[in-house]
Subunit: 406 residues, 2 copies
């Protein structure tokens, strides 16, 4: 039997699970500080709701099956289509604008060799039902401060308005979008080979005209709002050749880069006024962003941004059990510490050698061990062992509490 | 097209999602204060791992299908079997005891008319790899304090040791387990009709012998530890006829009741030493509990235990926009308030009537609205409207900050 996870699916044991929780709860707090409220939708939806929404590629990657009741169902593939359903289904109940965030897992039967997972966490925030420069800017500012709250200080926002591509064919935009990857020459060659420009010179002129394009009036407004919202001016970079592949964007587009993290952008989004109304049967403007959840975790690891509380056990100390007779003392100390809101773990077995208990604390990354042996019991103190520094001291319970509350 | 969720599946819009988040994060904190660490497993597993683990009923209710790669897969049905897989797969990496909590959704194609959902949240904590009275007691204490942290003050722990049923056939135990539902007479009749007792008198004697059974030595130890752990004596009720249906329990069993909430128990668990080793190929003792997540939300609603922060919008105030000219002022105020860690929502459109903005704040349960009109701008103050009390006052920004930080 395969005692393992399916390819592309992951377990998250304590430390990894805690890192993910930390990022999620940090972001939730930022999102809520701007008035975005949570939305949770089911893992399964009617297949007909999702089908035809993700292009040819998406159709192949969707998890779909027939359930026990002969219903065609599909697993969550993204969070935009379910949100569009929610907007249609609860129209009258939802505030306008509807500002929601959603952090759930999606399922794509993708090629795992490309470093992709088949179940992964998506994190989106969107402002739905309004088209304004302030709403565009607010999404960008929220993302900027979401990364700042995690400790990223060098975050750059590359930003553009799809209006600069007006009149260009989708293939031309897709080619220009590759500028960073293949360089100016590469882009020009591809513009010619794709028959978009008739000569390399024409291609060069086309590309140059885009590079020289002035920021749109809307972008200028967005820049001004961003500044008042506290996003530093030098963090916002007007990038006229930024296209973002997806052709559903209708206005501002942006990507978030962490210069120290070279794998790729960690978030991206923009205005997409034609998509959210798909089920409601009318045009509903929207602006939003998708965070790269796994990449963010990765970047935080690389840059050492997780605070030590996240990288350690939740318990601050292991209260060891010296022997069966002294077990009651240890139990009392653990209760006392918890009553002071100090998370501690009590060793649960009165038959284990001290060495085994200390190794357990070490393996679990619990920073301290507390020992109450016969000497400590008699002197009415405890021994506090700092497991990383390999130091120890005896102190009375009140001082222990003070020390652990620091 | 069906613009709706599948039967038995639910959306959670802002308020409901926030309630669930609140319960989860409150519990996580309690679990971690006892040294339980999070575990997250995939939504899909190899079908062969899950098959045959949940009895005849479970086989029918599982969501299973063949994926694009011709693998037989199944959706998470519970959290115990995946945990057993994790224990077998990562044996050497896991601390012993392995104390983990898991809060994820499971999928059961159950009859929704029984008020059951097909996707619902399970919350489990377990201590794996150890058999001791302290570990039994710790699970019970953690559950008790998890409910206390939510504001439940009348929580009762019904507790028993399966040892009282030693020598009894499973059908006899199942019958006795119904005592609360069908009464003594009902139980005796069923004991006879099932051929367990040959007469009603014999049945009465059997039942009485169980009702009179003294608490086991192990239970007495557990009671003593619970008391030292701070669980009030009168919250723990020895219940010799409590059997809990599942026949995999091997020692202590318990259920948590909230007297004011009459739908049923809100958590239950016990020691089950024969299950977790199923994939590891050896006996691994374990004790744990499953929380009734939906019932807990339900009980909190009924008893009014959600704090007002959870029942309101996350934003404390809506900063309205008086008109286009004064928009900049409002934007500055919202940035200032957020820099003081006051979550506020900024109205995003400089073309809306004040009435519309106030209605929006009301609908979204934002408690305050802030208005900066020409008069306020000139006097360098803001108007703060308490939307519930329909009162308002003018005050300078510094006082506004103080007031909202209260």
């Amino acid at each position: 039997m395969n005692i393992q996870t399916l390819k592309g699916f992951r377990d998250f044991l304590s430390l990894d699970a805690k890192k993910r929780q930390y990022v999620m709860s940090t972001w939730q707090k930022v999102f809520e500080s701007y008035g975005f409220e949570p939305l949770v939708t089911p893992t399964l939806e009617y297949d007909e709701l999702l089908t035809g929404k993700y292009g040819e590629e998406g159709e192949k990657l969707m998890y779909r099956f027939v359930d026990n009741g002969e219903r065609k169902v599909a697993m969550r593939y993204d969070q935009t289509v379910p949100t569009a359903r929610v907007v249609a289904q609860y129209q009258s109940q939802l505030p306008v604008p509807y500002k929601r965030y959603q952090i759930q897992n999606v399922f794509r039967a993708d090629n795992t060799q490309r470093g992709r997972y088949r179940e992964f966490t998506q994190c989106d925030i969107d402002t739905i039902g309004l088209n304004s420069a302030t709403s565009d800017a607010e999404i960008v500012a929220t993302v900027y401060f979401a990364f700042k709250a995690l400790g990223f200080t060098s975050t750059k926002v590359l930003i553009n308005d799809r209006v600069v591509f007006e009149g260009l064919a989708p293939e031309a935009i897709a080619t220009i979008d590759k500028l960073k990857k293949i360089g100016e020459e590469g882009v020009c060659k591809e513009l010619v080979s794709r028959g978009i420009s008739s000569s390399e010179e024409e291609a060069k002129n086309l590309l140059q005209s885009i590079i020289d394009a002035k920021a749109s009036q809307r972008l200028e407004e967005i820049f001004a709002v961003l500044e008042t919202m506290g996003v530093p001016k030098d963090a916002v970079i007007y990038s006229p050749t930024l296209a973002r592949g997806l052709d559903y964007y209708t206005g501002m587009i942006f990507e978030i880069e962490i210069p120290e993290y070279t794998v790729g952008s960690v978030a991206g989004g923009g205005r997409y006024d034609e998509l959210i109304g798909m089920f409601a049967g009318r045009q509903i403007p929207a602006v939003g962003v998708a965070f790269g959840f796994d990449r963010t975790i990765d970047a935080m690891d690389e840059m050492g941004l997780f605070p030590s509380e996240v990288l350690q056990a939740s318990a601050k100390a292991l209260v060891t059990i010296f022997n069966k007779d002294l077990g009651q003392k240890s139990l009392e100390v653990s209760t006392k510490l918890r009553s002071q809101n100090i998370p501690v773990e009590l060793w649960l077995d009165d038959n284990a050698k001290m060495d085994k208990q200390l190794k357990y604390a070490d393996a679990k990354k619990i920073p301290f061990a507390i020992i109450i042996g016969p000497e400590e019991a008699e002197k009415n103190v405890v021994t506090l062992k700092n497991l990383a520094e390999r130091t120890q001291e005896q102190l009375p319970l009140e001082d222990l509490i003070k020390k652990l509350l620091q």
